[in-house]
Structure formats: C-alpha cells, structure tokens
C-alpha cells in the first residue's frame, strides 16, 4: 500500500510540472488552446491523484498524449522518484511483515 500524497508533496509536484510547462511555452511547443486544456488536465490529475503510483501513471499518460511533454515528463518523474525514495523503505518493511508472517 503506497502512502497517500500530502499537500506538501502536491505543491512540489506542481512546481515540477510548472517548470516543465514554462519550458514548453518558452520553446513555443504549445499553442494557446492546448495550454488551456493541458493546465486544466494537470489540475484535475494532480488533485485527484491519491498516491505516487497514480501520479506516475498520470504523468506517463500526459507524456503519451502530449508528445512534447515527454521530455518534460522524464524530468518530472525523476523528481517524483526522489520524493518517493524515502517512502520505499517503509513500503518494503510493510511488505515483508505482511507477507512472511502470514
């Protein structure tokens, strides 16, 4: 069971996504209409994501839909994984206790 996202996590995620987004605007890879839709999607996706897995999946989906987002998505994923690192050990611990001592 993955840990739920905390508001701090979410803020950090938004930051990473915003950096990627601004990069897109700078490079003019995204038109005005797409900006609106992408922003809306990001808001929806991050708000409704409950765990890191959800987030992971969401961003991968974004990357496939908006191809220009792929390069940005990689960076975002890396950041998210860093965040997640600390939580992996907890996860593993839980897994072992549950699994082995059945």
């Amino acid at each position: 069971m993955a840990r739920l996202l905390t508001p701090e996590d979410r803020t950090k995620i938004y930051d990473y996504l915003a950096d990627a987004y601004i990069e897109l605007v700078r490079k003019k890879l995204i038109g005005p209409y797409e900006r609106k839709v992408l922003s809306s999607k990001i808001l929806e996706g991050v708000e409704t994501s409950m765990s890191f897995e959800d987030l992971h999946v969401f961003i991968s989906k974004l990357a496939t839909t908006y191809t220009y987002f792929a390069s940005a998505a990689v960076r975002v994923k890396a950041e998210i994984e860093k965040l997640q690192e600390n939580k992996v050990i907890d996860q593993l611990q839980q897994y072992i206790t549950h699994y082995v001592h059945k």
Binding site: T11, P32, S39, I42
Partner: protein, 722 residues
Amino acid sequence: MTATAAPEQQVLKVEHAAAAVLRDGTSGQADVLALQNIKTTEGAKDLFKREAVPDEHKKEPNFTEINATLVKLNPPRPDLATISARLQEIIEGNPPAAGALGGADAHMLLVGKIAANMPGIVAAISKETGHTTNDVKTRLRGNLLGMKTILDRLLKDKEFVGKLADNVAKLEYSEEMVDADGKFTALEDKITNAEASYNSEKWKYTNVGAPVGTPPGAIEWWNGLAPADQANIKADVPTLVRHFGNLNVPSLGALQRASITAGEVPGYKSDIDTELGGIISGLSYATLTSAGYDLQKQLTAKYGIVPRGAAAGSPKQWDAGACGPYQDKINALKNAYIAATQVNVILSRPGYAGAFDNIQRNYQIYQESGDKLRNLQTQKATIDADKTARDKMKLQRDKKLIEYGNRVGTALDRSFREYYNDILLKDAEYISELDATKTKKDKKDKEDLKTKRQDDAKEILKNYLRLSYLKYSGGKVVGWDDDAIKKFVKKDLLSTSPAQMARKLLERVHGYRATLPSTYQKEIDAVLKDMGVGAGPPPVTFTNVMDEMDSKFMAELAAEEMPKVLGYAYSRGYYFDRLRMTKDQAEFMRTAYGTDFFTSALSHKDEYKRQLEAEFGKDVLTGELRDKIKQILVGKNWEGGFKRLLAALAIGGVANAGLSFLGAGKGAAEGIVTLKSMGAAAAEVGTAASVATTNALRDASAAVYAPVNKFVSSTPLSKPTP
C-alpha cells in the same frame, strides 16, 4: 535575449524580437516571464489555474483554436473545417488557395449562397443589375455570373468583414468547455489506470471475465486440483512451513535457508552430514541417530575441558561454554536433516513437482482470494461510478462541441443578417429619410420665399413708392418727379396690365433708390436682400425676383398701389379723368383693368385723401392755392372724375377713330365732345361741373405756376415761391 550580449548585439536582438512580435502577433518571451512571475509569487497550482481560464480581453478570431476544436467533434463534421477555412479567407482578405474545393471563388460562393436566402439582398441586387430575383438567386447559388463585382465589394466592405470577425471572435473555447474537456480527459485517464490495476489484481485471483489468453487465477488453479490434492495441500502447507522454519535457523550458519526444493534435499542432507563430520569426525546423521550414540560423551571427548586443578591425565569434562554451542549446532543440523527429509517426502508427491514455492504461493493467494476479491468490489464500484460520470461528461462535452460546431457553421449567416439589419437597412432608411426631408424642406423653403417676397414687395411699395416719386437735393425733398408721374399717367396706365404695372412700380423704387437719401437707401437694400436679391451662387438679380413673382399677387398689389400713384398724379395736375385715349388705349384699359379695378381703386379713395393731405403737409403746395385745391380735390369732384373714367370704360366701342378723352382740357376746343362722340348713353357726368373744376384749378394754379395744365408739360415744376 541574453543578458550577456554586447550592447550593439543586444539592440539588434531587441529589434529582431520586436519585428517577430509584430509579425507573429505573439510575444513568447513576455509570456514566459509572466508565467515565471506567477509561479514565484502565487505558486505553481495557481499558475495552472490561471492558464486554464481563457483570456477575456482577446477578441480576435482565433482560427487555430477553432480548427483544433472542430477536430474533436463527435460525430465528426468535416464540412465545418471547410467552412472555417473559408471564413478565415474572408476575414483575412486572402483568396482561397489554388485547388481549394470550389476554386478561387469558393469564399465568394459561400457568401453568395447565404445572400440568395436573404430576400432583401436579392431584391437590392436585382434592382442594381436588372436581373429578375429568381435569376439573381440562381446566379448567387451557382455560377456567380455577373454577381462577382457586387460580392467582391461586399467582401471588401469593412463593416461586413468586421461583423463577421466579431462573430467569429466570439467563438471562444469557453471556460466551460475547457473545464469540461479537462475533467473528461482526466477522468478517462483515471478510469483507464484504475481499471488496469484492478484487472491485474483481480486476474491474480480469478481470470473470470478476463480476455482470452489470460493465465488462470488462483481460484481456477485450486478448482483445477483433484480433491485429494486439495486436501494434501491444505495439510501440507502448514507442515512445510514448519519444516522450513527448521531450516531457517541462524545457527545453521551457511546451511540456513528459507526453503528447499525436493531436488535440493539430497545435496542438502549430504551437506549436513559433512557439517556434522566437521564437528565430530566421522559423525553423520545416521550415526547420530543410531542407537546408543552418546552425543554428550562424544562432544566432551572432543571439546571437553579438564577442570582446573585436576591432575594431569584426568578425563575432560563437559563445559557449557565449550561444548554447548556445538551441541546446539548439531541439534539444529539434526532437525534440519529431519525437516529436509520430511519436505522431500511431501514434495515428492506428484503435482508438487518437487518445488513448493509455486504451490505455497498459489495456495496463499487462493486463501486470501475471498477477502481480496471482496475488497476489489469496492474498487470496481468506484470505477463504475467514474465511468458513469465520465460518460455523462462526455455527453456534455460533446453537446458543447456540437453547439460550438453549429455556431461555426452559422457564423457567416448570422453576421450577414446582422450586417444587413444593422448597417444596410439603417443606411437605406437614413438616406431615404434624408431625401424626404430634403424634398419637404426644399418645398417649404420655396413657399416661404414666395410669401416673404410678396410681403416684402408690399412693404416696398407701401413705404417707398411715394418717396420714389419725389425729388431730392441735399437730403431734402425739393419737389416731385413730374416726368415720371406724367409718363405713368399718360403712357404706362394706358399700355400696361395691372401685374406689369406692379412690377413697374417696384422697378421704379428699385431704380430710384440710389437717388433717395441714404437712410432710405439702406432700408430698401435691406428689404431687397430679404427678398433674396444678391443671394448665393448663381447670384439672384432683382429681375430674377421680379420674374418669379406670382402674377395674381402682382395684380392685387397693383390694385392697391396704383391708385396711389394716380393720386400723386392728380395732385400734380395730371388728371387722369382728362386723359386723351386712342381707341386702342381705351380698349386696352377696358380689357386690362376692367371695372373691378377702378371700383376697388375707388374704395381706397380715403387713403388717397390721406396721402394727398400728407403731401400737402409736406410744403409742396402752400398757402391759399393749397387750400383751394384741397377743397376741390378732396371734394366730390375727385370722386366724380373716377366715376367718369368708369363710365367711359363701360362703354363699348368708339364711334369715331378720333381722340377720346374725358373731361375738357386745354383742347377744349373740341368741347366736351368725348362722351357724346362715343355715343354713350352716358350717365349724367356733371360735365359742366368738371369744366368748372378744371377751369378753377387752371386759374388758381396759373397764378402760381407756369402753365400747369398742359398734359404734355415737360417743364419741371419749380419750387413755389414762399
């Protein structure tokens, strides 16, 4: 724009950037800076919130957005893409690309089709080109023959294009649509992911409902086992776990393991034996468990310690510290050996294939499948709920998109109608109103001018006619213009119709005004100006004004004013009742003037009396003479003179071609032959009295003036000597 560029380079770059902004209409750099600013000050989430809202102030048509949106329509509408392209061509003023559907006039054709459905436009075009309305419709919808000039004009009309641009600009991808779209796609993604994870979980436990090729789940596996196997597994699993527990002991050292397969057992057992042999040489499991084997004794023998203080050669004794660990280890090894053997027995069962891992795992999964599947139910419920929500959202989104598509399709029609109603019709109304007002105004102006002129003409004669018959010197009245008066009586009266006479009088004033004192001059000029003399190009002359006077009015005016002149004349001794007339002149008088004229003239006699009195008050005639003349003139005889004239005119024809005149004059030699010679049954006309009048006057005035009763006198009267 790099901050480290050299100044010249930086200037160049700024210009390039500016040029690019002008060309593209976008400023990417400014956008980026703005976004970064928002991210820093308000946070990234707010950045996305702002971005998701459409720009309120932008009102330009945005075809990129429109085309992108049209693509999403479900069911798809390729015709709208064509229409969008045409609209763009019209708004941006570019003709369609070569090879466009419909050719180079495709956009004109689109406009034409709509125009054909607007009766007002069709009627207007029909009027302008001369074709019938049906013909116009056919051409507008088809070959555009003869319609291109008009349509071209329309397409270049700023108002028309402006209205279209406004309507298209309103086709924003609204906030609602962005919301709907975002929510829908986000939810759809969520559903996809949730379903994937749900399925992968579920198919672990059961593959019911999974696609073909999915491996069986734990439940299927279990159900596929024979009952005996199931029983075995049920019994064996805990046992095996217990046995594995014995293998998983740390004191086994290198031989500690979590589990073991059947194939590994023999090797394991021999390893144990080797290990045992290592502790006590020659020891093995078999030996260990053989009857009579005393482990303690053996361990003591090997590892025991001679107690301190005992004699040399004493036997070793058991030492807990030295021997204990080995005993533990040997026990552990023994247990492990037993466990491994048991495991081998169990795992050798057919169906276990010697490895327990899979079975154990599968059994475990099977055991928990009930609970897990129950838990998954809630997940499924959520997914289903989301699906319903998503479908609803999709419907809403599609509905909005369809609405949007329709608005694109009808944009041209709508804006054309707006153009027609708001601009064409209003223009037409305004122009026609303007025309009507102008016509009304023109007519009214003409009427007003006519009335004004008539009033002014009356005023001129009323105020200045008398003055025009006076003579001036040094700004003062010095006498009468007898020549003019004489001419009036002798010539004009006999040859000019009343209307013409009025004109002559006005012309008299007009021509004489320079001679009048300057105050009068100025006044007359003012009135003339009011009549319109000298008014703007082309310059209106007095003659023009006179030409335009209404003749009926002039005749009436003459009836009012002429007798006054006769009055002046009479006061100067030009007695119209003693006129000599030729037959023609008499005829003329009768025709032109008729009896009515003089009747009405007669009715104005009081006026004349007043005028004469006024004249007398002006020191023209003075003294006794004045009083005498006054008595005579203002008396009955003046009236009598008029009556005589009337009588003369009433009589038709002239018996002889000779002179005819009224009353007796100098040429009285012929005597008062006039009436008689006319053979008139003339009324009693008091001839004797008139003779007497004449004689009296003649005698009276003779005393003062030079021959005064000469009709053809051209000698101006001189000022009477005081």
